[in-house]
Amino acid sequence: MAVILDLLVQGAQMALVLLLAPLLTGLVRKTKARLLRRQGAPIVQPYRDLLRLLRKEVVLAENASWLFRVAPYLIFASTWVAAALVPTFATGLMFNWTADLIAIIALLGSARFFLALSGMDIGTSFGGIGSSREVMIASLAEPAMLLIVFTVALIAGSTQLSTVSAFMASPSVGLRMSLALALVALIMVALAENARIPVDNPSSHLEVTMVHEAMVLEYSGRHLAMIEFGGFLKLLLYVSLIASVFMPWGIADHAAGPVEYAFGAIAYLIKLALVGVLLAVFETAIAKMRVFRVSEFLGAALMLGLLGTLLLFVSRSL
C-alpha cells in the first residue's frame, strides 16, 4: 500500500512539473510584457503554443538524418526526468533516492549534447553557430555548476537533493557565506543554461545573435513542441532547484500527510511565481552581453563556486 501511495505521490510530482512548466514561462513572458508597457499574451499562451505545434505538420529538411527526428524526444525525456527528480512540494519521494545533483547535471548534459548535434545535423550556418556557442557556454557553465554542487554537498553532507533540502530546512544550517556565494553562482548558471538575458535573448528574431533559438531554427511541428516543452521544463527545474536548496520553507517531508502536501504545493507555487517575476524584472533591466563576455560572466560563477568550496575547507580546518 505504501509503495502505491509513494508511486502516486511521485506520479503527482511528475505530472505537476509537466503542468506547471508552461505556466511558469507564460508568467515570465507576461510579466516582461507588462514591464514593457505591453498587454502581453495570456499566461496560458505556452500551452496553446504547444497544442498548436503538436497539431502542425512537421517540415523536415531533405538531408535531415534520423538523429534530427529522434533528438527532440530524447531532449524532452531527459529534461522531464531531471525535472521530476528535483523536490518540488515534498522531499523524499520515491525517485528522489535514486538520483542526486550530479545525475541531474548529467541528464541535462546529455539533453544538450543531442540538441547541439541536431543543430548541426541539417548543415545550415545558423545551426552550426548556435551549436558552437551553446557548447562554449556549456563548457563554462558545467564546471561552475559542479563547484556549486560541491559547496552545497559539503555543507549538507550529501549530493542528494532530498537530504540537502531537508538539511537546509533544519535549524542546524545557520548562516553561511559559502551558501550565499553558491546561490549567486547558481543564479548565474541558471540564466546561462536557460538561454535568458544577458547570455541569450529568448525573444530575439535576429538569427545571428541567437544561441538556443539558432539550434532549433530548423525544427517544426511536434518536434519543435518537444524542444520548447523541454525548454519550459528546464526553466522550471532550475527554479525548483534554487527553491528547494535555498528556500526550502514549507516543503513537506516524505512521511507527510495530504495536508502537508497541500501546504507544500501552495508554498511551491508561491516560490515559482516569486522567482518568475524576479527573473522578468532582471531581464528587463539589463541588456544582452557580447558572446565573448559570457566566458567572463560564467568565469565569475565558477570562481564564486570555487570560493564557496574553499571557504568551507578553510573554516573547517580552523
Binding site: 556557442r133 538575458i197 525573444s203 545571428v208 545573435t209 528587463t284 533591466a285 541588456a287 558572446v291
Partner: protein, 504 residues
C-alpha cells in the same frame, strides 16, 4: 594641382539648369574631376545617367560650392569614376544595369540592381528583351584557414526590407561582409519619365516610406528651381515642420530599435510610445501619419489648423518631459553601454571620402548638413546646432540621433512661433523650353538629391533620386570588419540604411 569646382568646365554651361551650374565637359575634365575626387578635394554628391550622357554632381568643401558635370557618351562608354574613387562603384554598376552605359575600367563588372530576373535589359535606355536569366552572382572571396560563410537574407525574420548579407567569419569574428541589394527595385525613375509634375511628386514621396517628406520636399524644390517658382513662405515653414516631425519620429524609432537589438527591450518600449505620439500628432495636424503627399511642388497641400497646432505643441511638451529620462536610462545602463561603445567603428577619413550624410557621417566627424549647405528656406532664419561626434561607433550614432531630436524639438518650436500667414500653394509657371532643377534636402538619414528635367510640355523628361544610403551602405561593410558576428544587427540598425530608397 587643385582646381576649385567653380572653375571646372566653365566653357559650356547649360543655362536652363538651376540652382547649381551644370557644365558639359569632355573626357579630360571628367578625368580631372575623378582625380580630384580620389584626392578628397571634391566629394561625390550623385552620379546618374541618361541614354547617351552621364552626369555627376560634385561638392567642393573648400569653397562650399556645388556643380553638375555632364559627359556626353554617344558610344555608351565613359571613363569610370569608380576606378579611382570607389564610392562610385555601385552607382556605376547600377548605370550599367539601367542604361547600358559602360564605365571603362570599372573594376567590378558584376550587375548590381539587375538580378537577372527583369523581363527587359537596360529599362531606362534602349530596352531589349532579357537573355536567359543569369542568376549566379559571385561574391568576393576571403581566403584563410577555417573561414565559414553565413548568408543572411534577403528574407529576414523581422518585418524589414529585403537585402542579402554574406558574412565570412573566422569563428565569431567577421572577416568580410558583402551586401547584395536591389531586391526592392520598383522602377521609380522609369515610372517618372513622362509623368506630370504632380504625379511625379507623388512617386517621389513613395521612394522610401520613412523619408516621404524629405523626398517630397526635395522633388518639390527641384521642380520649383527648374521653373523658377517661389513657394509661399507659409508653405516653406510648414515643410520644415513636417520634415522635423519626420526626423523626430524616425530617430526615436531608431534609438529604441538599436537598444532592442542589444537585447534591451525597455528602451524600445518607451521610444515606441513616443514615436507613436509623433505619428498621431502628424495625423491630427496633417491628416496622414507619415505626412505623405502633404508636400507638393509649389507649396503644401494641407494647412495647419488650430487643432493641429495644439496637437504638435502637446507633442513637443510631452517629448521634452519624457525624453530626458530615456537619455538617462540609455546612458546609465552599464550593460547597454558595454554593447554600444566601441562597436562598429567607422573611420572618419572613410566617412569623409564617401561623403556619408546624416548620423553616419556626423558620428564620424563629418560636419555636413544640407539644411546648412547648400541651405534652403526657412532654415537660414532658424537657429540650430548640427551635432558632430568623433568616435564613429554605435554609441555615437545613437547620441547624434539624441541630439538631433533635441534640435528638431527646438526647430519645431521656432517654426510654430514664427509661422507666417498667407497662401499655401503657388502655381508652377509653364516654361517655354526645357528646364532643369536640382535640390539637396536633409532627410533623417542624410542628404537626398533630386535632379529633374522637365520637357516643353512641363512633363518629367528625366528624374533622378539619390538616397543617402548609397554612400552609407558600403561603409557598413567596413564598420563591421573585425567585430563579432552577433554585433552585425546592432551595427546594421545603427546605420539604418534604406533598402527601398537605394534600390529605387
Amino acid at each position: 594641382m587643385s582646381i576649385p569646382l567653380s572653375q571646372i568646365g566653365q566653357e559650356r554651361r547649360v543655362d536652363c539648369h538651376r540652382p547649381w551650374p551644370r557644365a558639359i565637359v569632355d573626357t579630360r575634365t571628367w578625368n580631372l574631376a575623378a582625380s580630384q575626387l580620389a584626392l578628397g578635394e571634391l566629394s561625390l554628391v550623385g552620379l546618374w545617367g541618361e541614354a547617351d550622357c552621364v552626369h555627376m554632381a560634385l561638392h567642393d568643401p573648400a569653397e562650399a560650392s556645388f556643380a553638375v558635370l555632364s559627359l556626353p557618351c554617344p558610344d555608351q562608354r565613359y571613363p569610370s569614376i569608380g576606378l579611382r574613387h570607389p564610392v562610385a562603384l555601385r552607382l556605376e554598376r547600377a548605370l550599367v544595369d539601367l542604361f547600358g552605359l559602360t564605365p571603362e575600367g570599372l573594376p567590378d563588372t558584376r550587375p548590381w540592381l539587375d538580378h537577372g530576373r527583369w523581363p527587359v535589359r537596360h529599362p531606362l535606355a534602349e530596352r531589349s528583351e532579357a537573355d536567359a536569366a543569369v542568376l549566379s552572382y559571385p561574391f568576393l572571396s576571403a581566403e584563410g584557414d577555417s573561414l565559414h560563410q553565413i548568408p543572411i537574407g534577403p528574407v529576414h525574420a523581422g518585418i524589414i526590407e529585403p537585402g542579402h548579407f554574406r558574412i565570412t567569419a573566422s569563428g565569431e569574428t567577421v572577416v568580410r561582409l558583402e551586401e547584395r541589394l536591389g531586391y526592392a527595385h520598383k522602377g521609380v525613375e522609369s515610372l517618372m519619365a513622362g509623368a506630370d509634375v504632380t504625379r511625379a511628386g507623388q512617386l517621389a514621396g513613395r521612394v522610401s516610406g520613412d523619408s516621404t517628406v524629405a523626398y517630397a520636399v526635395a522633388f518639390a524644390q527641384a521642380a520649383e528651381a527648374a521653373t523658377g517658382c517661389l513657394p509661399p513662405a507659409r508653405a516653406q515653414w510648414l515643410r520644415a515642420l513636417m520634415a522635423e516631425l519626420e526626423r523626430i519620429g524616425n530617430h526615436l524609432g531608431d534609438i529604441g530599435a538599436i537598444c532592442n537589438d542589444a537585447g534591451f527591450a525597455l528602451m524600445q518600449a518607451h521610444c515606441a510610445v513616443l514615436r507613436e505620439r509623433v505619428l498621431r500628432a502628424a495625423d491630427t495636424a496633417f491628416r496622414h501619419r507619415q505626412m505623405r503627399d502633404c508636400v507638393v511642388p509649389g507649396g503644401v497641400a494641407v494647412d495647419l489648423n488650430a487643432e493641429g497646432l495644439a496637437a504638435v505643441q502637446a507633442l513637443i511638451e510631452e517629448i521634452r518631459r519624457r525624453f530626458p529620462a530615456l537619455i538617462e536610462l540609455y546612458d546609465n545602463t552599464a550593460s547597454l553601454q558595454d554593447r554600444m561603445v566601441g562597436t562598429g567603428i567607422l573611420d572618419s577619413g572613410l566617412a569623409r571620402s564617401f561623403g556619408a550624410g546624416g548620423y553616419v557621417g556626423r558620428a564620424s566627424g563629418r560636419n555636413f548638413d544640407a539644411r546648412r549647405l547648400p541651405g534652403y528656406a526657412p532654415y537660414e532664419g532658424l537657429s540650430f546646432v548640427v551635432p558632430v561626434r568623433q568616435s564613429g561607433d554605435v554609441n555615437d550614432r545613437v547620441w547624434i540621433r539624441i541630439r538631433e531630436v533635441e534640435q528638431s524639438l527646438s526647430l519645431i518650436e521656432q517654426v510654430l512661433s514664427g509661422l507666417p500667414q498667407g497662401p499655401l500653394l503657388a502655381a508652377l509657371p509653364v516654361m517655354s523650353g526645357v528646364c532643369e532643377g536640382v535640390a539637396l534636402v536633409e532627410g533623417f538619414r542624410g542628404d537626398v538629391l533630386v535632379w529633374l528635367r522637365l520637357d516643353v510640355g512641363g512633363r518629367v523628361a528625366r528624374c533622378h533620386l539619390r538616397d543617402p544610403s548609397w554612400f552609407q551602405w558600403p561603409l557598413l561593410e567596413v564598420a563591421i570588419d573585425g567585430n563579432i558576428v552577433a554585433d552585425f544587427p546592432l551595427c546594421n540598425k545603427s546605420f539604418n540604411c534604406s533598402y527601398s530608397g537605394h534600390d529605387l
